[in-house]
């Protein structure tokens, strides 16, 4: 019946006021000041490069781990040799071709699977099954089937990403609100028009987001293919530089991957907001 004063006080917060005071930076889904945001981001970048430097010069201190300054020197050397431009171009073209095919198939198939239960029933098993075959294990097969040129690399990029693109885009299509589709039907639209004028525009931002996620998975596939057999490309260059033990330039290539990834992601984000400003988060 009687509650001790201390319990009651503790429950209510007492002299410090009522309720649980919210943390300025650690409130779940809470906004933080812009200055804090910038400061935290700067700290993380400094920490990343600081750790790299520390590992390279103190903790590991081995030839195979150059520090950031050496890596920049390596990048310069690579650029001056003229190989970098050739390799970046060769790899980028292969990725672009393979990923364009993968996305085209993924969009067509994914939107149909997400829109029609019948198409879903047909493709669910094959896609679910093939998705778990590791694409990289197909590399030797593709080299025989498509030759040592670009085709085998493009094929590997397609094989390794197309099922993920399909499955994820199907989910995007399934998320189109039923009422948007029903409204179009009651306004006299047919199936094709509903797909083209309602489902596709609604899916576009989601498709771009899927493309961003899986593009990051496309690069490792290309590198594997280029390690096996190639005469140019970033994966091929990695192989050559490793044999020559030019670790500063190996790391320069890793840096190039990161920059290409970042630039392509920024481009896709720009495209998303440009084409579908209504879906801007």
């Amino acid at each position: 019946m009687t509650t001790t004063a201390s319990t009651a006080t503790r429950r209510r917060g007492g002299a410090r006021g009522r309720g649980r005071k919210q943390h300025a930076l650690l409130r779940l889904r809470g906004d933080i000041p812009v200055a804090a945001r910038v400061a935290i981001a700067v700290v993380s970048i400094v920490a990343l490069f600081g750790l790299w430097w520390l590992a390279a010069d103190v903790l590991v201190n081995q030839a195979f781990l150059p520090n950031p300054a050496d890596t920049v020197d390596g990048l310069r050397a690579l650029w001056e040799s003229g190989d970098l431009a050739t390799d970046v171009q060769a790899s980028t073209v292969r990725i672009a071709e393979g990923y364009a095919i993968s996305l085209a198939v993924g969009v067509a198939l994914g939107v149909l699977i997400g829109s029609f239960r019948s198409v879903e029933a047909f493709w669910e098993s094959p896609v679910g099954f093939l998705r778990y075959v590791p694409a990289t294990a197909l590399t030797p097969l593709f080299l025989v089937a498509f030759g040592l040129g670009d085709d085998s690399k493009v094929a590997l990029v397609v094989a390794g990403t197309v099922f993920f693109n399909t499955v994820m885009i199907a989910d995007v299509a399934r998320a189109v609100p039923r009422e948007l589709i029903d409204t179009a039907y009651t306004l006299g639209a047919g199936r094709t028009r509903v797909l083209a004028r309602v489902v596709m525009p609604h899916c576009f931002p989601g498709i771009i987001d899927v493309a961003r996620v899986n593009l990051a998975a496309a690069w490792p596939l290309l590198v594997v293919a280029e390690l096996f057999a190639a005469s140019e490309g970033l994966g091929y260059r990695l192989q050559v530089l490793r044999r020559l033990s030019q670790w500063d330039q190996v790391f320069a290539i890793l840096l190039v991957f990161a920059v290409i990834g970042l630039v392509s992601d920024l481009f896709l984000r720009w495209l998303r907001n440009r084409v579908s400003p209504w879906a801007r988060p």
Partner: protein
């Protein structure tokens, strides 16, 4: 005033053929791993031309399902729906529909949303622009033609949705709790907006709501639906002609009717 629904359908209007005829509609659902659920159990009613009929009932009375069946978006288990004597087999622009969630296309401007149905029937760009302009005038949104839906308030969005449904000149306008998501003030003004619109366009309207007051305020006739399964409990002729305004809500007959329907539905 209140007529409990007998086996014979009540004929509205002066012997003229009904605009919309719903005949013995039954709808069963088969949820996975459970028994068949009867959502609608033999609903029959007519809507005469230029009439505004409200369907009122609590959740579970199948009123939205019934509206979807009239729209042709769902197929009844048995029974039929006819518009001008023609059997409904699927959705079409002759039965315009407005949902509670507005369901505007956010990538289209207000004018492009209203013009969607006109694109579907292949109307030329010039004619379409004229018709859209006329409709935006009717719903009072001419100045917002080039806005996108997310720049509009809830009430304005719903006016766009109504204009869009009216664009292909439907035989029947179907409204599924269109004002359910609006705040009380906006809701009231949208009800008056709808009444004005109805008097002006002489549209045939079937309006679904769970709000008894709204049903009496808007409808010239109110069908009270029972839940589990959905069936017509009563059909009520609302006694205030077409010209009424907000003062009606203080009318004795309005209050009596409201109490009567509340009793029918078993709500306190």
């Amino acid at each position: 005033m209140v007529a409990t629904n007998g086996p014979a359908a009540v004929e509205p209007g002066a012997g003229s053929a009904p605009k919309l005829a719903v005949r013995d509609v039954v709808k069963d659902f088969r949820p996975a791993r459970s028994a068949v659920v009867r959502a609608i159990d033999g609903i029959t009613f007519d809507v005469a031309e230029h009439e505004l009929v409200c369907l009122v009932g609590s959740s579970g009375c199948g009123k939205s399902t019934l509206l979807n069946i009239v729209a042709g978006l769902e197929v009844p288990t048995s029974g039929s729906v006819e518009v001008d004597g023609e059997r409904v087999v699927g959705p079409g622009p002759d039965r315009g529909m407005v949902f509670q969630t507005y369901s505007l296309y956010p990538w289209r401007t207000v004018a492009e949303n209203v013009g969607f149905g006109l694109e579907c029937v292949g109307m030329r760009k010039r004619a379409r622009a004229e018709r859209v302009h006329e409709l935006l005038g009717i719903v009072g949104l001419t100045k917002f033609a080039d806005h996108t839906p997310n720049q509009l308030s809830g009430g304005m969005r719903q006016r766009v949705a109504i204009a869009r449904a009216l664009a292909p000149e439907p035989d029947v306008l179907l409204l599924d709790e269109p004002f359910g998501a609006l705040d009380a003030q906006t809701r009231r003004s949208m009800q008056d907006f709808l009444l004005t619109l109805w008097r002006r366009t002489r549209a045939t309207v079937l309006f679904v709501t769970h709000d008894i007051g709204e049903a009496i305020y808007l409808g010239s006739r109110v069908l009270v639906l029972a839940s589990h399964p959905g069936r017509v409990l009563a059909e009520i002729e609302v006694p205030f002609g077409a010209g009424h305004g907000p003062e009606v809500t203080r009318d004795r007959r309005y209050l009596d009717l409201r109490d009567e329907i509340e009793d029918l539905l078993g709500t306190p």
